[in-house]
């Protein structure tokens, strides 16, 4: 039978509506339980990266605003930390439930502001954010069981700076353990994606948290620096680029500020010839194209055993053609918009570098909208450890493929990177998995799956991917001091 030219059974648009969401035109700073105008008087615009339309104006906090927020948090600390764990847990449970109730609204705002597909914000970001609050709410009155025979105390004021790739989820990762342990918080969301954190501030108001326990200040790098450098901040938690992480580590040196950093990554995703190849293909796709590749633990370095290289590449290319790239609000979209113009420029720079290095580039033949920031899913084959696209974090939907021959070789190559956040192993053989996981220097290693997250599982890196863990019992330690 002849193949027809017209594509059969094509997706019809299935747009999530934005009619039900409530967004203000202008957002102030959330300090001491009140919406406060910035002392600087300055505002910046936050746009929808899929069509470049302005969604809202957001206040820009300067040093004086940050000082007010830190003072509010400091004042609230005594009351909050002396509440019984059970009472603190109640607030967190309430917050978790309210997030669940408003899940649809939060998902839509997350997608509008950040460009990620509604499927992901609906099925992953928002449910996981709620799960983090539920999980940590449970710890609030059980800290003595988490750390038996040790006396724990909260640290004080935690300054938390979060990235733009999972805006609400990262806020949850930071806030939930800090609050459960009895700390008060000044949180700064990323300047390109502040809206769900501000919605979270509204939810915190609704949950009737004591004023000052959570303060949310918006702004760019300077605002973050003001938090990091504020003398009354006792703890800094940062998720973002390795470059900024280094600056923060320098800034907090010689102070008694406790620090955790969750930085970049260049994860090795290793596929052996005895793997369930067809499922591994799905895992590779999920590993690198999830959230447009804006994932610090993305499986951006693919290692394929030479004997199955051709099969894997053939199937990967075919699978990429099936991915739906486009309007993030469409429920069928797999790959949405790149978060910002500057990030798109970074990605394009690396595409150019890859081509100049003589690597073979393959992109989906899909079309992308004319407005907004877009990058087609991309594969580079023929890469080596010396290729720049293998060495440097791209933070986009770009996969670099290398081949290997033996298990010893691939372990060496996988570890041959300044980063060490995550890794993936694909094989049908259990013994091989255990052999590898003991030798790979990465904080999270997935076997026969990728990009799976759970509040009970600690997450964090080796080497330039940072230090400290978030999630699980390990994550609580970062927000406590031990008076033994």
């Amino acid at each position: 039978m002849a193949v027809k030219n017209k594509k059969l059974f094509e997706f019809s648009p299935a747009l999530e509506s934005a009619g039900h969401i409530q967004l203000k035109e202008q957002y102030e700073l959330f300090i001491n339980g009140k919406w406060t105008k910035p002392k600087s008087g300055k505002y910046f615009k936050t746009i929808n990266p899929s069509n470049e339309k302005v969604i809202a104006q957001v206040a820009e906090a300067d040093e004086a605003d940050v000082d007010a927020a830190v003072s509010a948090a400091e004042k609230a600390f005594n009351g909050w930390s002396s509440l019984s764990g059970k009472e603190r847990g109640k607030y967190l449970f309430r917050l978790a439930r309210l997030i669940q109730e408003k899940a649809r609204e939060l998902s839509v705002i997350e997608t509008l502001d950040g460009g990620k597909p509604i499927r992901e914000s609906r099925d992953i970001d928002i449910p996981l954010a709620a799960a983090h609050f539920f999980y940590h709410a449970g710890w609030a009155d059980k800290l003595e069981y988490a750390f038996p025979n040790r006396k724990t105390e909260p640290l004080g004021v935690a300054g938390q700076i979060i990235p733009w790739n999972f805006p609400l989820l990262m806020a949850a990762w930071k806030l939930a353990p800090a609050l459960a342990c009895g700390n008060t918080v000044v949180l700064k969301p990323a300047e390109t994606t502040p809206l769900t954190a501000l919605k979270l501030a509204e939810i915190i108001e609704e949950a009737e948290f004591p004023p000052g326990v959570v303060n949310i200040v918006t702004g760019a790098g300077a605002t973050g620096a003001a938090i990091v450098n504020h003398p009354k901040v006792n703890k800094i938690a940062f998720t973002g680029s390795t470059e900024v992480g280094k600056i923060i580590q320098c800034a907090t040196a010689n102070t008694d500020k406790k620090l955790t950093l969750e930085l970049g990554g260049k994860a090795a995703n290793i596929i052996f010839e005895d793997a369930a190849i067809n499922q591994a293909i799905e895992g590779i796709i999920n590993g690198i194209y999830f959230n447009q590749g804006h994932v610090c633990c993305a499986g951006s370095r693919l290692f394929v055993q030479e004997s199955v290289h051709d099969e894997v590449i053939q199937k990967l290319k075919a699978r990429i053609e099936n991915l739906v790239v486009g309007d993030p609000m469409d429920k069928n979209t797999d790959i949405g918009a790149i978060n910002s113009k500057s990030q798109l420029e970074t990605i394009n720079k690396y595409l150019k570098i890859g081509k100049e290095e003589g690597l073979e580039m393959f992109q989906s033949s899909c079309s992308v909208p004319s407005k907004g920031f877009w990058c087609k899913p991309t594969i580079f084959t023929g890469a080596a450890q010396s290729s720049r696209i293998v060495q440097e974090e791209i933070f986009g939907p770009v996969l670099a493929v290398q081949t290997f021959r033996t298990i010893g070789e691939v372990i060496q190559k996988a570890n041959n990177t300044p980063y060490g956040l995550s890794a993936g192993v694909w094989t049908d053989k259990g013994s091989k998995i255990f052999n590898l996981t003991q030798q790979l220097r990465a904080g999270v290693i997935w076997a026969n799956t990728f990009n799976k997250f759970d509040p009970t599982s600690p997450f964090g890196g080796y080497k330039e991917s940072g230090f400290g863990r978030e999630g699980g019992v390990h994550g609580l330690e970062s927000y406590l001091k031990f008076n033994d």
């Binding site: 039978m1 193949v3 027809k4 594509k7 059969l8 059974f9 094509e10 997706f11 019809s12 648009p13 299935a14 499927r119 099925d123 005895d274 793997a275 369930a276 190849i277 067809n278 499922q279 591994a280 799905e282 895992g283 999920n286 099969e311 053939q314 199937k315 075919a318 099936n322 429920k331 069928n332 049908d428 026969n448 799956t449």
Partner: protein
Amino acid sequence: MQLVNRKSPPVDQVGIEDRIARVTARSIKSDMKLEGLKMAISMIDLTTLEGADTIGKVTQLCTKAQHLCNEYPELPSVAAICVYPSMVGVAKKALGKSGIKVASVATAFPSGQSSLEVKLLDTKMALDNGADEIDMVISRGKFLQGEYDFVADEISTIKDACGKARLKVILETGELGSLDQVRKASDIAIYSGADFIKTSTGKIPKAATLPVTCVMLEAIRDYYLETGKMIAMKPAGGISKSKLALHYLMLVKEVLGDQWLSNEWFRFGASSLANDLLMQYAKSQTGAYQSSDYFSID
């Protein structure tokens, strides 16, 4: 034949389930839904396989196949009628020149617990009565004993006997125990000459599922990549709702591509699915769901 030495690739059940979760989260709307409903109707093997089948019952089913819904003449007819060998003649006569094919189960359906001689006679009876397609069952007992050569030889012998008739090989996946086994049985059937691979007889509770179908589609895809030859697929049993049928089509499109989206390469073995598809189609035309009394139940 090198079947024994041929190693089927492993299947990761968790991975398959993740994949299915992705597919079933898809939103199938408006034009796509209409196209899908029509396509699904055209892919149905309208089936009656009962001890109680009579000339009357089969004739009525054949009438239904030719007049699915008189209100909507734009709808396609089903692909085939599927009956026991003894009813093939009846169906053939009732369907006349409608173009609807007659498929017959054979080879000691549904258990397959008989000798090759009997299975061949069973097949011959269906063919002599005019069957266009033969739905055979594999010997699951032999398969589970590891006698893969036996299973393969049986399939290729029946295939030879089929002549021009297309051969569907029923794996009865609900009895195979794991997705790895499903993959192995699929490979054996494909390499032994199956034109179609089919999930189930419909005679045991565990019938077709999306994960099982996904594994079989992957076997078909891998064979196509290796040889350039297309094999058809037929999930059967347990598919009675339109939404599920559309998810199957989605899966076929994603795993195999547009080439397989026709009734030459994909079928549903079902009896009650047709009316649900009709009801959904009528809803799309009138805006309201009609009572099931408006759809004939032959």
